[in-house]
C-alpha cells in the first residue's frame, strides 16, 4: 500500500489520514516505536477510552509522561 505524503509548513513529513469522521494531518516519525498517537480532542470525538499513562523518550533524551 502506498500513501502519498508531503512536507507541511513546519517542514515536517506528514500524511493525511482518515480517523473516524475526520481527515487529520499526521506527522510521520520514522523513529517512533509505537503506532498512532492522536490529540485528546480527537480521542474525545472518537469516544476512545483512556486506559492509562506511559513514558516516552524524545530525541534529546528527555522523558515525557503521556497521559
Amino acid at each position: 500500500m502506498q500513501i502519498d505524503g508531503y512536507f507541511n509548513l513546519g517542514d515536517e513529513p506528514v500524511i493525511k489520514l482518515e480517523v473516524g469522521p475526520s481527515l487529520i494531518e499526521v506527522l510521520v516519525d520514522t523513529g517512533f516505536s509505537g503506532s498512532l498517537i492522536v490529540p485528546s480532542e480527537i480521542a474525545n470525538r472518537l469516544d476512545l477510552k483512556l486506559e492509562g499513562p506511559e513514558e516516552f523518550q524524545t530525541a534529546s533524551g528527555e522523558m515525557v509522561l503521556a497521559r
Binding site: G10, E12, G20, P21, L27, D29, T30, G31, F32, S33, G34, S35, P39, S40, E41, A43, N44, R45, L46, D47, L48, K49, L50, E51, G52, P53, E54, E55, F56, Q57, T58, A59, S60, M63, V64, L65, R67
Partner: protein, 156 residues
C-alpha cells in the same frame, strides 16, 4: 459553590481523575471549614450528537477555588506517586520475573492494586487486564526498557 471548568480536551481523563480523588485522604477532599467535598460534575448529556464529547460541560465543584486547587494538585501528586510505585514494583518484583522472556513486550500495571498483565502491545495488555476484571488505571511499561516508546522527531 465554586466551579473550575474542565476543557473538553480533558474529558477523557475524568474517569481517571475520579478514581484518584477516591484515593485521597478526607482532609484533602473535604473542606475543613464548610464540610463540602470537592468533586467533578458533568453537565447535561448531549443527545444524538454521534461520536464525541458526551456532555455539554464538565467542571470541578467545591466550596472555594482554593479547595478545588488543593484537590487538583493532590490528584496530580498522587498520580505521579502511583506511577513511581508502579515503576518500583517493576524494578523490584517484575523485572526478574519477566526478563528476558518478555523483553520488548508491554506490561500493564494497575496503579491501585499492582496487578499486572503482559501483551505484545498496550491494547493486548489492557484487554487482558479488563478481561480479568481489573477496572483501574493502568500504567504501561516496556519490559527491559526504561521507557515505553521513543520519539525521534523534534517536539514543538
Amino acid at each position: 459553590m465554586a466551579k473550575v471548568q474542565i476543557p473538553p480536551s480533558e474529558f477523557t481523563e475524568i474517569p481517571r481523575l475520579r478514581e484518584i480523588i477516591k484515593m485521597l485522604p478526607e482532609e484533602i477532599r473535604v473542606c475543613s471549614k464548610h464540610g463540602e467535598e470537592v468533586d467533578i460534575k458533568v453537565g447535561k448529556f448531549l443527545p444524538n450528537q454521534g461520536p464525541g464529547v458526551p456532555f455539554a460541560e464538565a467542571y470541578w465543584e467545591g466550596c472555594s477555588v482554593e479547595a478545588i486547587a488543593r484537590v487538583i494538585d493532590a490528584v496530580r501528586k498522587k498520580t505521579l506517586e502511583l506511577i513511581d510505585r508502579a515503576k518500583q514494583t517493576y524494578r523490584e518484583e517484575l523485572a526478574g520475573e519477566l526478563e528476558p522472556e518478555h523483553t520488548g513486550d508491554i506490561v500493564a500495571i494497575e496503579l491501585g492494586t499492582g496487578g499486572y498483565f503482559v501483551g505484545k502491545d498496550e491494547v493486548e495488555a489492557a484487554d487482558k487486564a479488563r478481561a480479568a476484571g481489573h477496572r483501574g488505571i493502568l500504567y504501561f511499561l516496556r519490559v527491559g526498557s526504561p521507557f515505553t516508546h521513543c520519539l525521534m522527531s523534534p517536539r514543538q
